[in-house]
């Protein structure tokens, strides 16, 4: 018997991929029925196979499926769901979606529409932070003029005060879209116009503003949970500094190198801002950590983050389950309050790497395709969140994240050791993934020394060279296999290729290669 009654009888999950599967798992644990939705590209996907029931939304393009507010609300009503979980991405931070769910008499599992709307506008969020005394990145608090020759002098004057290099950012922005880096006054008018144009096409809102570029900086964010009484607590922070194109690659918790006192101060700032914004359910407050040790508020994400799992491993909480409980009107649980108490000194360390279908030798360009080989690691301290099985197709229509590999340990060193081991166990074929980059990170002395910054990837990673080193080995291996030398490959230590080192002893791949020949050679 479960201790508590399920928070809902049935909910609809308005998402796909690993996050939909993650939410279904929480539903199973709680005894809540899960309804999934899908596009034609996902008719046989894991989130459809695992759900109690599923509703088709439409063709693969997001605008015709996962972004259709009308179709999703209709699916929720007709399937008898009591609440809707948006996951991340798609409609998760659209106040109009949350509002439509509520208008249909259902519960939106996330912050209230008014809070989503207020914080989704980064300028409003910056003004709010300023009002409650939380330091923000230096820059403007009002929209910058775009294509206004009469105001060019005025905005250049403002930009001088902010300092170069600076960033033009979209008020409705995210994921780096609408963002432009500006190194001189001369470039500013064109950058404002270009950023505004991109923001308009991406978000339907061309409002842009100016912010100083803090570089090198670390990206540190605080996980908040709040209940319907207005109480907001911080349960810990994550360092997400390793990024490319403003998309995170590696995340860890807690952020290395902070004393409990500084952590407490950071958490208090985030909770203060969350309280002032009327946040409830789950949200994340993002900060930049400058080299001088100062924190500056960046933005609030009013949804579950991709990287919520690292905080779960550190705290022992199930954040999705807590979201359901909070959405049902229950107060912050005892487990959440206890985690908030321990948040400044959590005593464990977790690292997550995002395995994406991208080529890390070609600037992380997308590589959709069919996954022909898929073996994920397991063992002590390892968690994998994924929706992929061998033979699945990574569709070109959606985000290219295919798995989140998390490791945890009693300290950061143990977590890195486990990361290295887990990545060595991973076998992925058919599509190029970010695996080589993550293997590099796990072996990097700079990462081990917690030398983290948002410029880390540009500074340390040379994908083309790393790939070229592997290329010669690839050609040799194929030549050996072609000559039937895989017999030798399978018997290291006799006259096999490998000297009997520990790596050679891990001859799994060699045996696996032979098995592949026997079992799957096309007839």
């Amino acid at each position: 018997m479960r201790k508590d009654a399920p928070p809902f009888r049935r909910i609809l999950i308005a998402n796909r991929g690993e996050i939909a599967v993650r939410i279904i798992r929480a539903c199973r644990d709680l005894g809540v029925e899960a309804v999934s939705v899908y596009s034609d590209a996902d008719a046989s996907a894991a989130h459809v196979r695992m759900a109690d029931s599923s509703v088709r939304l439409g063709p693969p393009p997001p605008a015709e499926s996962y972004l259709r507010i009308d179709a999703i609300v209709e699916a929720a009503v007709s399937s008898g769901a009591e609440a809707v979980h948006p996951g991340y991405g798609f409609l998760a931070e659209r106040a109009a979606f949350a509002g439509a769910v509520e208008a249909a008499g259902l519960v939106f599992i996330g912050p209230r529409p008014a809070a989503i709307e207020a914080l989704g506008d980064k300028l409003r969020a910056r003004r709010l932070a300023r009002e409650v005394g939380v330091p923000t990145v230096p820059g403007t608090l009002e929209p910058a003029p775009v294509d206004r020759p009469d105001q060019v002098d005025a905005i250049i004057e403002v930009a001088r005060g902010v300092g170069f290099p600076l960033l033009v950012k979209a008020a409705a922005g995210g994921g780096g879209r609408g963002m432009r880096r500006v190194t001189s006054e001369r470039e500013l008018p064109a950058a404002l116009a270009a950023g505004s144009h991109e923001a308009l096409s991406a978000f339907g809102d061309g409002t842009v503003y100016i912010e100083r570029e803090i570089s090198p900086a670390r990206h540190v964010e605080v996980q908040l949970l709040g209940d319907s009484t207005g109480r907001v607590v911080a349960i810990g922070e994550r360092d997400c500094s390793l990024q490319r194109r403003h998309q995170k690659l590696v995340e860890e918790a807690p952020a290395p190198g902070l004393t409990p006192a500084r952590r407490r101060k950071l958490h208090a700032m985030a909770a203060q801002l969350g309280t002032a914004a009327g946040l409830s359910n789950a949200a994340t407050c993002e900060f930049l950590l400058a080299p001088d040790g100062s924190f500056a508020f960046l933005e609030v994400n009013t949804r579950l983050q991709v990287e919520h799992g690292v905080t779960e491993l550190v705290t022992g909480l199930d954040i999705v389950a807590e979201q359901l409980s909070l959405a049902a009107g229950r107060p912050l649980s005892g487990a959440v309050l206890a985690a908030a108490e321990r948040a400044a000194d959590p005593g464990r360390h977790t690292i997550e790497v995002r395995l994406s279908a991208e080529d890390p030798a070609r600037d992380f360009a997308p590589t959709p395709g069919t996954v022909r080989r898929w073996r994920m690691p397991s063992g002590p301290g390892v968690r994998v969140d994924t929706a992929i099985s061998e033979g699945d197709r990574v569709p070109p229509d959606y985000d290219n994240l295919i798995a989140k590999l998390m490791v945890d340990g009693s300290d950061r060193d143990q977590a890195i050791d486990r990361l290295r081991r887990a990545l060595d166990e991973a076998e992925i074929g058919g599509v190029q993934t970010t695996l080589p980059f993550h293997r590099f990170v796990a072996r990097s002395s700079a990462f081990r020394a917690a030398e983290l910054s948002t410029g880390w990837v540009e500074q340390h990673w040379d994908g083309a060279t790393d790939r070229e080193r592997a290329r010669g080995v690839a050609l040799l291996a194929v030549a050996l296999a072609d000559r039937g030398e895989s017999d030798n490959l399978a018997r290291p230590g006799t006259d096999g290729l490998a000297s009997p080192t520990p790596r050679a002893g891990a001859g799994g791949w060699r045996r696996a290669a032979l098995d592949a020949e026997v079992d799957r050679w096309p007839r």
Binding site: A357, P396, R467, L475, R483
Partner: protein
């Protein structure tokens, strides 16, 4: 020490990037500290070459392998047929699955080398497909809005 026995082999990545490796009999050894994953091979019926996928330390390669002797013969034959490839029919195929968002040419259009042909969007990224050489557009096999799979025919140049 394991070596390749029999005759010399030529192996190269299928995208023809980088140089081919000719492996002489009894020549080379594989380092032991690499993670190597060999996937089942498939025979490419048009070329008669065997294509294999191999993943080394997470890097994925498609590799063509054939006896060096035969590769030399093939190259001689290609040279003999002269510059046919320069002004013959050239099929441009999709190198990534995605959606065609724009087509810049019509049949009969003259294009210069590196002239824009079409744009394929995959995973929120727009990939411009340009003409590998000058020529005349003989066929446009796709339209804007259409989904394409890997290696689908896009455009024929003559």
């Amino acid at each position: 020490m394991a070596t390749v026995s029999g005759e010399a082999l030529r192996v190269m990545t299928a995208d023809a990037a980088g140089e081919a490796l000719v492996i002489e009999p009894d020549g080379q050894v594989l380092p032991a500290d690499r993670q190597v994953l060999l996937l089942p091979s498939a025979l490419d019926r048009t070329s008669g070459r065997r294509r294999r996928e191999v993943v080394v330390d997470g890097w994925r390669f498609e590799v063509d392998v054939e006896p060096d002797r035969r590769a030399r013969l093939r190259e001689q034959a290609a040279r003999a047929s002269g510059h046919a490839a320069q002004d013959g029919r050239l099929e441009i195929r999709a190198v990534i699955p995605g959606r065609v968002v724009a087509v810049a040419v019509n049949p009969g259009d003259r294009v210069e080398a590196a002239g824009q042909l079409l744009v394929v969007e995959a995973m929120k990224m727009q990939n411009e497909i340009r003409a590998p050489r000058a020529g005349t557009v003989a066929k446009v096999a796709v339209g804007a809005g259409q989904n394409v799979e890997l290696r689908d025919l896009l455009i024929v140049l003559e």
